[in-house]
């Protein structure tokens, strides 16, 4: 789960990482009030779960509350890479002497948390990594050993930070960042830029904070930070129904079990000349409830013309899925043609169950390729 800048900064603050004072605003009027409370020049920052908002006009300086109100009006409603701005963070403006880059994330390959730190922040950091890799200090932390003070020194001296005041502040920020990373079950905590003000204060000017969905049950306070309104309506419905669903732009609705098989199904649909309407993974479940939920989500997309059920039974038993499909069709009205392919655990029984019932709009195909072709055909 990705957090907004202001949410990440709230977590930073809890763990002792300095951030600028700010207020949330959802209207120009609130932005003005926030600017008044903060006093002095503020920055009006679009809160969107994507990058590039600066270039898109989503960050603006305002010297007065009036100006803050006006800028807020300009930014609210902007579409930034498909994300509509509905929240603003009004923050005390900071003078910038230097900009560093700092992050901690999972290196899934090395299976250890990885700190990355460079004094060459404020520019395209991926470019820094490519052009001058020696300027980007990387340091792994053994999760059993935990964060040790020497690791801060490795990063600080490695990045060439010479000022003792900065060294001390950054050492403390590094320790806090690791604590936040572990304490919030984060997958990523990124500070870009980590700011040094002209009078030597170090603080986080931005935050990218991603929390492990699988650990959200331990963090109800973070879980409720989710902005359900920001997602596509089908995805909101899917989350409510606990269905793994990603909306795409085609006309063949896809329903399968297992992410790999569903991805492969999308590929096969494309090879058969069709375009998938979605990615939808039933996961381990295949009972009527799960099938109904998934079908409701898929058919809520008007672009869908046919539906392809691609099931290979393992933990999911094909007979259960077959019964689930029949029950679902009994409980809801589906106009779309449905192509079903069942293989694996109890597949024969599943196919027999469907054949016995043989609802009018249901087509059972023997192989994945045959089924894909049929679904593409029926979507035309």
């Amino acid at each position: 789960m990705d957090l907004y800048e202001y949410q990440g900064k709230e977590l930073f603050r809890r763990f002792g990482i300095p951030v600028s004072e700010g207020r949330l605003a959802t209207t120009p009027h609130e932005a003005r009030a926030a600017a008044v409370e903060i006093g002095g020049p503020v920055v009006v920052k679009a809160q969107v779960l994507t990058g590039g908002r600066g270039k898109a006009g989503g960050i603006k300086l305002a010297d007065t509350p009036e100006e803050a109100e006006q800028r807020a009006g300009e930014i609210l409603g902007l579409d930034i890479r498909g994300h509509v701005v509905r929240r603003l963070w009004i923050e005390r403006a900071s003078e910038i002497a230097k900009e560093y880059y700092l992050s901690i994330t999972f290196d899934r390959g090395a299976k250890q948390p990885l700190f990355m730190f460079t004094a060459e922040g404020g520019v395209d950091i991926e470019q820094v990594a490519e052009d001058s890799p020696e300027a980007l200090v990387r340091l792994y932390v053994d999760p059993l050993e935990g964060f040790q003070p020497y690791q801060a020194r490795r990063l600080i001296y490695g990045a060439g930070i010479g000022d003792p005041g900065e060294q001390k502040q950054i050492a403390s920020i590094l320790e806090s960042l690791y604590a936040a990373f572990v304490g919030c079950d984060a997958m990523l905590c990124e500070i870009n830029p980590l700011l040094v003000t002209p009078d030597g204060e170090v603080k986080a000017l931005d935050s990218k904070f991603t929390v492990d969905d699988n650990a959200l049950y331990k963090h109800p306070d973070i879980a409720q930070m989710r902005d359900t309104a920001a997602a596509a309506p089908q995805e909101v419905l899917a989350r409510e129904k606990d269905v793994t669903y990603v909306k795409l732009d085609g006309s063949v609705g896809i329903l399968g079990n297992g992410a790999g098989l569903v991805m492969s199904t999308l590929d096969v649909i494309a090879l058969a000349g069709g375009r998938p309407a979605n990615f939808c993974d039933l996961g381990g479940g295949g009972d009527a409830e799960g099938v109904v939920d998934a079908l409701e989500v898929i058919t809520s997309d008007d672009q869908v013309r046919s539906i392809f059920f691609n099931i290979f039974g393992g933990i999911t038993r094909c007979d259960e899925v077959a019964r689930g499909i029949l029950q679902a069709l009994g409980r809801m009205t589906i106009e779309h043609p449905i192509v079903v392919r069942l293989d694996g655990t109890n597949a024969e029984e599943g196919r027999r169950i469907l054949a016995d019932a043989s609802p009018p709009n249901l087509h059972v195909e023997p192989t994945m390729l045959d089924a894909a072709r049929r679904a593409v055909e029926l979507a035309r």
Binding site: R108, D185, N214, G260, F279, I315, M368
Partner: protein, 292 residues
């Protein structure tokens, strides 16, 4: 021989008394796997269709000689179950449970690795050595014994490919699902290295998917270390690009993580990549007929 599970496997099922645990535990036993024990705290002394249940893994090791565990407990109890198994001396952990918090799995990985423990999963379908042992949820009836090693990040996709191989008359030494969670106990490389050393395996099929850089690393490993032929399938050519926050991910891998990038990395290292499960099965069939 086969790898990871075979006739020497003596399985304890953690969570045997649950509905899924008992279904698959008994199914594994009926396949021929030596399922020697189950563990469910508080149910010690009971049995599940003749498989004795203990309160702790330590008892299952001491009294039933278990050497391998299948973890079938809910995600939030899985880390504890894995520590229990490893600390009781279990050398092979197959974690079917999915959705463990990544930080927990990270600690487990770093804890068990120096101990030489082999782990598949979390979120894996298990391992099947046809004719010898099946540990997990792989539908064994669609596979037959043979010389093809199969390793995959995906469950159902593995079955699909195994199914296609079977229809072409090909069999498998071992089918290994390494699991789909962000942090898993074994990498492609770990499993490829085992297949390289396994006398029964003549060639290997690797089934990858978009995301991460495991396939790219495996490509380099295959070129450098593998004498046996490897063929690959990658899922997700038409998948939407995953949205990522921040820059850290992209910097780490130095790879786009796309199916196309993985395909290129593999082909650059001499690994042929099929575009559909059917095609990769055909490539295996061609290669196998050349090899044998």
């Amino acid at each position: 021989m086969a790898i990871i599970v075979d006739t020497n496997t003596r399985l304890v099922v953690q969570g045997l008394t649950g509905s899924e645990g008992s279904f698959h535990g008994v199914r594994n036993r009926n396949y021929g796997t030596q399922v020697v024990a189950g563990v469910t705290p508080g149910k010690g002394g009971q049995d599940v269709e003749g498989i004795p249940v203990f309160n702790t893994v330590a008892e299952a090791v001491a009294e039933a000689g278990a050497n391998t565990t299948m973890v079938f407990v809910p995600a939030r109890f899985a880390a504890d179950a894995i520590y229990e198994a490893v600390d009781a001396g279990i050398g092979t952990v197959i974690c079917i449970a999915e959705g463990l918090p990544a930080h927990e799995m990270l600690r487990i990985y770093n804890y068990i690795r120096p101990k030489g423990v082999t782990m598949l999963g979390p979120n894996c379908p298990g391992a099947l050595s046809p004719g010898k042992a099946n540990v997990g949820i792989i539908p064994a009836e669609i596979f037959r014994a043979g010389p093809v090693g199969l390793v995959s990040r995906s469950g159902t996709l593995t079955y699909q490919i195994g199914h296609e191989l079977t229809q072409l008359g090909l069999g498998n030494s071992t089918i290994v699902g390494i699991g789909g969670d962000p942090v898993v106990g074994s990498s492609f490389i770990d499993v490829l290295a085992k297949f390289e050393e396994d006398a029964e395996t003549e060639l290997v099929v690797m089934v990858g998917e978009i995301g991460g850089e495991e396939e790219e690393k495996a490509a380099a490993f295959i070129e450098a270390e593998m004498s046996k032929p490897v063929l690959a399938y990658i899922a997700g050519f038409t998948a939407p690009p995953g949205k990522t926050m921040g820059h850290a991910g992209a910097i780490i891998s130095g790879s786009a993580g796309t199916a196309e990038a993985k395909k290129e990395a593999l082909e650059a290292n001499g690994v042929r990549v099929g575009t559909t499960p059917t095609q990769v099965a055909q490539l295996v069939a061609e290669r196998a007929s050349v090899t044998s």
